[in-house]
């Protein structure tokens, strides 16, 4: 296992453990405010990373945010992968009309800029997280679809699959033995990049105030809230930014292949 990949996986593990332990780790309630102790520097009165512009403990909010952001990212990527790879294999395997139809559908979705789709969905139900999830998943599945369709098309024409079919081995054998081992590596890479895109997109949505409803501690919303006081308390905005960068960096390293 190459070093960068190992480092990536270790970081991911650390982040996962912190996420599972959640806000209780910091000993503070992420929503508890103290308006007389706003923007405290790290380390004062037991606040590991200081307090935000409403006096809430930043460390607790980062951990709480991790739970929301990462679970949303995992969910969106998982469903996008399942949906995209499934349709990709179908299109690659069947070819002909199915392939063209699904290809046109993916092009249409691709033509609609991702953010627009998410904006529209988020605007329908401004405060529910499932519309965000649906929007993000809808924009991500196309990538999985295109990769798996291309690989499936190549593999179905390969001698190995032709021989398997001549030998009477069914479709599931081909998928389990030929398609999945080949695709799984690439899907893992795409998933890592997909998760990174979701995390960044949530931050952007938070910035144009379409994100989740207060007081949910979501990294993107935190950045938007803490951005105005970046000169007064640079460490406050630094916390979500570093958390986001660390997560995305470790995802990319864990994914291994060149991004």
């Amino acid at each position: 296992m190459r070093l960068p990949r190992l480092v990536g996986l270790v970081c991911l593990l650390v982040i996962a453990v912190l996420t599972i332990l959640g806000p209780s780790l910091s000993g503070f309630d992420p929503a508890k405010q103290n308006l007389r102790a706003i923007l405290l520097p790290p380390g004062t009165d037991g606040h590991l990373l200081g307090t935000d512009n409403l006096g809430r403990d930043i460390a607790a909010r980062i951990l709480g945010g991790a739970q929301i952001t990462l679970s949303l990212a995992a969910l969106a990527v998982a469903s996008a992968a399942a949906f995209g790879v499934g349709l990709g294999m179908l299109a690659g395997w069947r070819g002909g009309v199915t392939d063209r139809l699904l290809g046109a559908l993916s092009d249409a979705v691709l033509a609609l800029p991702g953010l627009l789709l998410v904006l529209l969905l988020a605007a329908i139900r401004p405060d529910s997280w499932w519309t965000l999830y649906a929007g993000l998943a809808l924009t991500l599945w196309v990538e999985f679809f295109r990769v798996s369709r291309a690989r499936t098309r190549v593999l179905t024409a390969s001698p190995a699959v032709e021989a398997a079919r001549l030998l009477g081995l069914g479709r599931w054998h081909v998928v389990r033995r030929h398609l999945w081992p080949d695709l799984s590596l690439q899907i893992l890479t795409l998933a890592a990049f997909g998760a990174a895109t979701v995390v960044t997109a949530l931050a952007t949505l938070g910035f144009i105030s379409v994100g989740l409803r207060p007081p949910t501690p979501e990294w993107g919303v935190m950045m938007a809230e803490l951005l105005p006081s970046w000169r007064e308390a640079p460490w406050a905005i630094a916390a979500p930014v570093v958390a986001l960068a660390a997560t995305v960096l470790s995802l990319r390293l864990a994914a291994g292949s060149e991004g």
Partner: protein, 510 residues
């Protein structure tokens, strides 16, 4: 496509880190303004306030910084004994920007056209507006003492007849102000230049530009980098930051706008006065003012801020912060805390949804603070940050629980017009909801009709104290209007009524 190449060269220069000669060295004759509001059209009914603040359009009646009325395009005005007819004498030798002269007929037609569009005129019982010789006559169906104040509002700006097409749509903004329109690029920018044939004192600066920058951080940075000379409505952090930058002066002026909580009294929990009082007691106004707004003395003790003389009543008992008292009041009403810490009474949870909107950066933050403070006394408040129009929509269809917004009581120099709309019978989109208070309605109509000062202030007093006790609307804080400008820009006066940026009176030092 010269632009991109030019920009590319600049990008290269930047990459090479070569400093550009300081283009702003010699004494300047232009001023750039940055504010959050869009210039979505040139119709006074739409975003007209920007044209008034940039002193392009003027109204018959003007108001000074204290809110006292003074002559504008009308030199003086009288009212008939029965209070139904007002005469406004039009100022002599005033010229529109297209050179045409201002006369009573032009003023009357401009006002008649304004009546066809939503605006302040719709809350006045108007019969007709006609020109009579060199005066504009306003006929009413019933007495209305605030007609001059209404004619000071931006929706009643006087435009030259050539500004309108056949259907009354505005095709060009031809006003009478010291500055004329140079170029409008909706929705973000407006450029004006000095109008040399202005009837009043000619301004020192020759040109001014207005840029709509919706992000508060951008406005603060533009002020600091010198790209915007006058940056308006800064967010608390931006204001605190610019205070520390030398060469830049910041001012915070309390204006007749209050941050209030609108309550729907038809909702079970909010019907009892004691419950509303408890909710008010649970609010830490000093904490919000100091922590979020960064102006400790912005904490509201009553609805009307001190700047509204006559309406602010010093001897009204101030609103207090006493969570224990609040808990006792709620217990007295039969609310007990459930295991999730939320009060319940005969099966119903004390849960409400607060609607607010992000255009004013501090509102979502205050909403989050209220959510936490009410939770402490067992009230579950959900916060929904959406579009500002969801509040009047909720008022009309009754779907609203609670709303948080900043209500402007200075739409007209005399706040009576707003208060009638907000607290008259049946309440108002931006005022009380399902609050029957006949004695307040009576007092308001009296204030509206009475011209005798004692009777009027007695009526106002009844209204103010009723609002303080009944709390149909819970005041949170008095709004501070913030402006930042270079020290070198002399003579800038910040208008608390937000009627003008005061560009005609400024000049650059040196």
């Amino acid at each position: 496509m010269k632009q991109p190449l030019h920009a590319l060269a600049l990008a290269l220069l930047v990459a090479a880190g070569i400093g550009l000669p300081d283009a702003y060295a010699q004494t300047r004759t232009d001023v750039a303004v940055a504010a959050p509001w869009h210039v979505s059209g040139i119709d006074p009914a739409q975003d007209g306030y920007t044209f008034q603040r940039m002193e392009v359009g003027e109204t018959l009646v003007d108001a000074d910084a204290t809110g006292a009325l003074r002559p504008g395009l009308a030199t003086d005005w009288t009212v008939s004994d029965d209070g139904l007819t007002w005469r406004f004498d039009i100022r002599e030798n005033v010229v529109f920007h297209d050179g045409s002269a201002l006369d009573a007929a032009a003023a009357a037609s401009s006002l008649n056209r304004a009546m066809t569009r939503p605006g302040i005129l719709s809350s006045v019982p108007l019969e007709a507006i006609e020109a009579d010789g060199n005066a504009v006559v306003v006929r009413l169906s019933e007495p209305f003492s605030a007609v001059p104040a209404v004619l000071a509002n931006y929706t009643t700006m006087i435009l030259a007849p050539a500004s309108f097409d056949a259907e009354g749509n505005v095709v060009a903004f031809i006003g009478t102000g010291p500055f004329a329109v140079d170029k409008v690029e909706t929705p973000l920018s407006l450029a004006v230049r000095r109008f040399d044939d202005y009837w009043g004192e000619a301004p020192a600066i020759e040109a001014a530009s207005y840029l709509s920058a919706s992000r508060a951080e951008t406005r603060a940075l533009m002020a600091e980098s010198g790209d915007a000379d006058v940056a308006v409505t800064l967010d608390p952090a931006g204001y605190a930051q610019l205070k520390r930058v030398d060469g830049i002066a910041v001012e915070a002026v309390s204006i007749p706008r209050s941050i209030v909580l609108k309550l729907n009294l038809a909702r079970g929990p909010l019907a009892d006065k004691a419950a509303r009082e408890a909710l008010s007691l649970a609010i830490d106004r000093e904490g919000i003012a100091a922590g979020i707004l960064r102006f400790p003395d912005a904490a509201a003790t009553q609805l009307f801020p001190p700047v509204l003389k006559g309406w602010y009543d010093a001897d009204l008992p101030p609103l207090a912060y006493d969570p224990e008292r609040a808990a006792e009041l709620l217990a007295g009403l039969g609310w007990e805390k459930g295991d999730d810490g939320i009060l319940t009474r005969d099966g119903a949870r004390f849960a409400l949804t607060l609607r607010t909107f992000p255009n004013r950066p501090e509102l979502p933050l205050i909403a989050a603070a209220l959510q936490d403070q009410w939770r402490a006394i067992g009230v579950d408040l959900a916060v929904s940050v959406g579009n500002s129009s969801e509040i009047p929509a909720g008022h009309q269809d009754g779907s609203l629980d609670v709303a948080l917004y900043a209500r402007n009581y200075g739409l007209t120099p005399d706040p009576v017009v707003n208060t009638v709309d907000d607290f008259g019978t049946g309440g108002g989109d931006w005022g009380a909801m399902n609050w029957d208070a006949p004695e307040v309605a009576e007092a308001l109509t009296a204030a509206l009709r009475q011209s005798d000062p004692e009777a009027r202030s007695a009526a106002i007093h009844t209204v103010a104290s009723a609002l303080q006790q009944e709390l149909p609307v819970i005041p949170i804080a008095w709004y501070q209007h913030t402006v930042a400008y270079p020290v070198a820009l002399e003579g800038l006066v910040v208008d608390p009524l937000e009627r003008t940026y005061g560009l005609s009176a400024v000049r650059w030092a040196r």
